[in-house]
Amino acid sequence: MSSTFDQIADIIAETCDIPRDTIKPESHAIDDLGIDSLDFLDIAFAIDKAFGIKMPLEKWTQEVNDGKATTEQYFVLKNLADRIDELVAAKNAGTGTGS
């Protein structure tokens, strides 16, 4: 289990008042945890701040709407953690994230 996941889970638990022990790496933020778009704004702000990144939510949403990606790729928490790790790595490499 990545530390990134733990940080995300802590943020979700605090932001959405969801018991921390119910948040699993396999949890889908929308389908399993019931997080709506407004709460996700709050979560995105907390994640952006915690990791010093800018999650490309609009790009992800567009990809899902265009059928080029599934919500699972971005909103299952272990996958979200991977995406965040990629964004942090890109930032540290100075390549940007392309939001």
Binding site: L41, A44, F45, L57, E58
Partner: protein
């Protein structure tokens, strides 16, 4: 301040796109039916209107940053603190800044003062979306002109 039209900001005093800050003024009217009910014998500006005034200040700042290509819609108000009464006839000076620019959203902070006295503050989050209707954009342009939006500020980022 045209309360009947929910236009709370009268003029932009300073807009600094590079610093992500704005200062505006909002003149509370001497008389209005709102004050007859809020409250009889003790007229004060309702906190929701002070919050709206702060939100509109942040909104103009975001419009400038986005070069009027998107519209900020109020999404979240946090830590809204009403620190002192605001009475009819008082002049509000509102300072706002951007705290974070996310993808499709922005987090701002605002403080409103009468003179040097801090009256209220809040952290306000907006969703940023394309204008839903061309006529709406025309209306916003007209409003911007009316309150003296410094269009040149957008070219000096």
């Amino acid at each position: 301040m045209q309360l009947d039209y929910f236009q709370l900001i009268d003029r932009i005093i300073d807009l600094n796109i590079g610093e992500r800050t704005i200062r505006v003024e909002a003149q509370v009217p001497e008389t209005h039916t709102i004050f007859e009910g809020h409250f009889p014998g003790f007229p004060i500006m309702p906190g929701v209107l002070l919050t709206e005034a702060m939100a509109q200040s942040c909104g103009w700042l975001l419009l400038g940053i986005m070069k009027f290509e998107r519209m900020p819609f109020l999404a979240i108000v946090k830590e809204a603190k009403m620190r002192g009464f605001v009475s009819p006839g008082q002049l509000l000076t509102i300072d706002a800044k951007v705290e974070h620019e996310g993808s499709g959203y922005a987090v701002t902070k605002a403080k409103a003062r009468v003179g040097k006295e801090l009256k209220c503050s809040a952290e306000i989050t907006f969703g940023l979306t394309p204008f839903p209707d061309p006529a709406f954009r025309v209306h916003i342009d007209a409003m911007a002109n009316k309150i003296g939006f410094p269009l040149q500020a957008m070219t000096h980022e």
